[in-house]
């Protein structure tokens, strides 16, 4: 099929003038329309009477389409999940696009359609947005920023600084899926059993566990830097030690195999649909029961506990019974993974 100029994003689509309006009205709004966004004012307005969570993330993942997701689904899930780490239910998203001149409008629509589908799945609405276009060579395809506002239910107070001695550490499923799926796609590697990104919105999962436990102390999604880096952040913020057990950490065979071949440690590989939960030991069974009923938590398991020893550090008990300190990720394992 012949490629036409009209199939590509042009610099003038970012001018703020007629072509910007045409791009937004013709290709973005059909996917995103809702009563707040439809007003097309420079800011969205709505009422709030509660404690809220507010977060932002830019997404620069390469490639933009990968097994199990795309940059659009990722941009919705990542921000929803950051809100969920405060126990907040995501309500309102902003969407800001930086597009390289020449980017195919068909790919743009595919991404925005995925944003729409994922937002609908999670029950959030895109209420405000921005589109910039930069000259060819000044960006790599498309970068997306989403910011989000979520509502924190009455009585919920969850923070990375809330972990207490004796708390159990739960991970909601297998680790490393996202990073390995993206890396394999990027490098053209093949699996015997394909690994898909776990990219998913976890607001309902978090809502489910808040319904069965009032003693959830910390939540964090182990994205860049993987499970090991996230646990280090939590140990440091809470001023506690963390001990985890290698043989309890769920890892898919395909991910483990690819990590062995490439010399990666799955503990440092990014996830986009998993949550680390730190909660009082007496509530662990109830939380696991609730998780197992949700499709995004069926492989959830307790992987360790919070200790008063080695404060600020994470210790891994290996399958052979040895202990080793797990540090944060140093250097960059997989750039542009989110």
């Amino acid at each position: 099929m012949e490629e036409k100029m009209s199939d590509k994003v042009l610099l003038a689509h970012g001018s703020g003038g007629r072509l910007s309006h045409d791009l937004i009205a013709g290709h973005l709004m059909p996917h995103l329309k809702n009563p707040i966004l439809n007003r097309m004012d420079d800011s969205a307005t709505f009422g709030l009477n509660c404690r809220v969570a507010f977060t932002t993330d830019s997404y620069v993942i390469k490639p933009v389409f990968f097994p199990g997701g795309d940059i659009g689904r990722l941009a919705v899930c990542g921000t929803i999940n950051d809100l969920a780490t405060s126990g907040a239910e995501a309500k309102y998203l902003s969407l800001a696009l930086i597009i390289e001149e020449g980017f195919p409008i068909g790919d743009l629509e595919r991404i925005v359609s995925s944003i729409s589908t994922t937002a609908a799945e999670a029950g959030v609405v895109v209420v405000t947005g921005d589109t910039k276009v930069v000259d060819h060579g000044s960006a790599d395809g498309i970068f997306i920023n989403t910011s989000g506002i979520g509502v924190i239910p009455e009585g919920v107070d969850i923070s990375g600084s809330g972990a207490k001695e004796g708390d159990r550490i739960i991970v909601t499923g297998t680790i490393g899926d996202h990073g390995i799926a993206v890396m394999a796609q990027r490098e053209g590697l093949k699996f015997s059993v394909p690994v898909e990104s776990d990219c998913a919105p976890l607001n309902c999962l978090v809502s489910d566990i808040l319904g069965v436990s009032a003693n959830i102390h910390s939540l964090r999604d182990p994205t860049r830097g993987g499970l090991a880096t996230t646990l280090n952040e939590l140990a440091s913020q809470s001023g506690v030690g963390i001990q985890i057990y290698e043989d309890r950490i769920p890892v898919k065979d395909g991910v483990r195999g690819m990590c062995e071949i490439l010399g990666f440690d799955p503990l440092y590989v990014a996830n986009e649909g998993k949550m680390v939960i730190i909660a009082a030991p007496g509530d662990a069974d109830n939380i696991l029961d609730a998780l197992h009923k949700n499709k995004y938590g069926k492989d959830a398991t307790v992987i360790g506990e919070v200790t008063s020893k080695h404060k600020g550090r994470v210790v891994l008990k290996t399958a052979l019974g040895a202990s080793r300190i797990l540090d944060m990720l140093t250097g960059d394992l997989l750039p542009r993974i989110c």
Copy 2:
């Protein structure tokens, strides 16, 4: 002076691991610290009990430093001003950086320091953030996204769809300063009297006029696409005609001269510290008095009125008495101006 690796942003600074933490703790937090951000959770939390405005903008301006401002000041002002168009007082900002590998850390600190100074001037706080690094050649220096949450005072209801027949159209100062200042810097052009960007936070200015008039119907900052495009948006959203008078529109001599040489029309050149105000005719004098007392409104003037004729269109009465239709900007006058 010898250039060291440690003076540059590295890909690993975006890993989410140790180097990311070092960059944030060593170079960003010293400028931005505040009680909410200091918690270093994945989302900021705070209470709200009001009608709020929410907006987002990405900034891709080239060059990042220009006469009268920089990308950091712009990223704070642009988002504050978008909130102000709803009559909202900006309170909370997010800050998301996409940095090209190799970007000088000194420039990054200069930008973040400017963000801090501008936020302090405007009385807003950066409460959540994100830092991504992409490989050399995959972005052009630095792109910044800010999203903002503002509080709308009781009883205020301002929208681009609120303009009514007979309303006066006020512009808060000279037009085209930002676009011409940036273009001159980019192209190495010299003025006899230098033109500086008007980049400024207008939240106090808007608060001042809300204090003297309950009949402000529409506000919009004429950024990309300039005054002409903004007036077209307002005419279209409100379903009214707009008539403005060429000889009443304030333009600096330097801007006019540069526009004449280059064949630009200042009506289409971007502003970053100006507001278009549409208000009931009886309140125009009070509004002008309030504007003239604020340093960002001293050149404010009435440039026209809302009419029931030529609905959805903007008509310019020229200095010679002729009428011509002012359309939205078509094509791209000055790319990457914000």
